[in-house]
């Protein structure tokens, strides 16, 4: 990145910023990837786990995905029914609020557009809910038009349980706590309401490019 020039950035910092004495950058995102790394994040090649409680165990024959609440007609897909829907493979960068980002993560699943199309949402907000009790809120706008997927595969293999298997959300443009693991469904609502982490200190929206990590960001 050449703009603003390093000299100018140094000057700006000297005017209004703090410099950590003796701190030297050690992690360098490759030049071609630097534009893909949001502020305050670092590149992680593994895939760390962030879960607030024990890992739920959901057999696929008991799993289902539901859409209910303010919709034309509520609907529920079993594992088998879900896998008859148009399946997509997506490759996305993901960003966790705990500071790591992972580039080019490949998932297989069904776009939320396909699912929402079948129920006709009548209002603007969604609350996702998971096996194990986790919830997270998202406006319908943030999960429409190719922005969100229910995935059951990672790298061509069944999604590991610790990462949300058998099925999780992937909403890559927001911090990853918005991508509910062990997802069971969503309720369409006429108002916004904070989910689990949104009640416990994380930002209601969670845009990594604006560093919306915590309340008040």
């Amino acid at each position: 990145m050449s703009f603003p020039p390093a000299r100018l950035r140094r000057k700006l910092r000297a005017l209004n910023g703090f410099v950590s004495r003796g701190f030297k950058r050690r992690r360098q995102a490759p030049e071609e990837l630097a534009d893909r790394l949001p502020p305050g994040q670092y590149v992680e090649s593994g895939w760390p786990v962030l879960t607030a409680g024990p890992t739920p165990d959901v057999p696929t024959d008991e799993w289902s995905f539901r859409i209910d609440g303010m919709v034309g007609e509520a609907k529920e897909w079993s594992w088998e029914e879900f896998h008859k829907l148009p399946f997509e493979t997506i490759t996305k960068d993901i960003h966790c609020v705990t500071k790591w980002s992972k580039f080019d993560a490949t998932f297989g699943g069904v776009s939320l557009d396909v699912l929402l199309d079948q129920v006709e949402p009548l209002d603007a907000y969604a609350m996702f809910y998971s096996y194990g009790g986790y919830t997270t809120n998202l406006p319908i706008e943030e999960i429409s038009d190719g922005k969100a997927w229910v995935v059951t595969e990672y790298d061509g293999e069944p999604l590991p349980r610790e990462h949300g298997g058998p099925a999780r959300m992937v909403v890559p443009h927001l911090y990853f706590w918005k991508s509910a693991k062990w997802v069971h469904g969503l309720t369409v609502m006429d108002h916004d309401e904070p989910g689990f982490w949104e009640m416990n200190g994380y930002n209601n929206h969670g845009d990594p490019w604006k560093e919306e990590r915590y309340w008040g960001d």
């Binding site: 593994g46 760390p48 409680g53 915590y214």
Partner: protein, 245 residues
């Protein structure tokens, strides 16, 4: 005359977490060969809940930032600052800076305290299960209990690899059950090997609330053991360390 009296006082700004502030490192304690604790005095200190964390931000002369989160080790009764205990990860970016560069008197930029789920609010009894540096937020709970409710039942099951790895060793009392997974100290007649059902049973707490903190693998095992011992999954709070640095 009355004009001044009638105009309302400007509202006092609410102290919300999240403002970056420049703290001063007032004390560094070497805990183990790879773990140090840093006491940081804060101009905008506010009380935290045991289990919460602070974010640390390092800035180079070009304006590049590296940020990480660290659990608070000190009781909120130690007013005016926080103690962060930092495990050095050799290929990390922030922890080696703290270990190799920071000296007492240095300034560091931090903000917090954050998140309110992995926190202890005085529920009882309490079972703490910690692996390695996962003991840090649990020590905050232990320290706070000692100073506020020493009679409250709280046990710590603490797993480390080697004798060298015990953080806060001199503070460990009767409430702590220590186990060494690789090599116990010379003459050790306590527990060895990974945390198991027997060790959890010996802690003698099977209801109330459990906090489990450590690597992902450790937390998987620890939370399963707590469930097997009778804890409701909703009463088991976990915090997992991914590779970070």
């Amino acid at each position: 005359m009355g004009g001044l009296m009638e105009s309302p006082l400007p509202p006092v700004e609410q102290r919300v977490p999240g403002r970056w502030q420049i703290g001063t490192v007032s004390r560094i304690k070497v805990e183990t060969p790879r773990v140090k604790s840093f006491r940081i005095e804060l101009p905008m200190w506010m009380p935290h809940l045991p289990g919460q964390h602070y974010d640390v931000r390092l800035t180079d002369p070009d304006g590049y930032h590296a940020e990480r989160s660290y659990s608070i080790a000190s009781s909120p009764l130690d007013e005016g600052g926080v103690e962060l205990t930092i495990d050095k990860l050799e290929d990390g970016e922030v922890s080696p800076y703290f270990h190799d560069v920071v000296v007492e008197g240095d300034q560091v930029e931090v903000r917090g305290p954050f998140t309110s789920y992995f926190v202890w609010r005085g529920e009882k009894p309490v079972l703490l299960i910690g692996g390695g540096s996962g003991v840090v937020p649990l020590m905050c709970m232990l320290r706070h209990r000692r100073r506020t409710m020493p009679e409250l039942p709280m046990r710590l099951v603490y797993s480390v690899r080697h004798p060298d790895d015990v953080i806060y060793e001199e503070e460990m009392g009767d409430e702590t059950l220590l186990t060494f997974t690789r090599k116990p100290p010379e003459g050790w007649n306590g527990h060895t090997g990974h945390v198991d059902a027997e060790l959890i049973a010996e802690a003698g707490i099977d209801d109330g609330i459990a906090f489990v903190c450590g690597s992902n693998g450790f937390v998987e095992t620890g939370s399963q053991l707590a469930m097997d011992a009778g804890f409701d999954p909703q009463r088991i709070r976990t915090e997992r360390f991914g590779p970070t640095g």
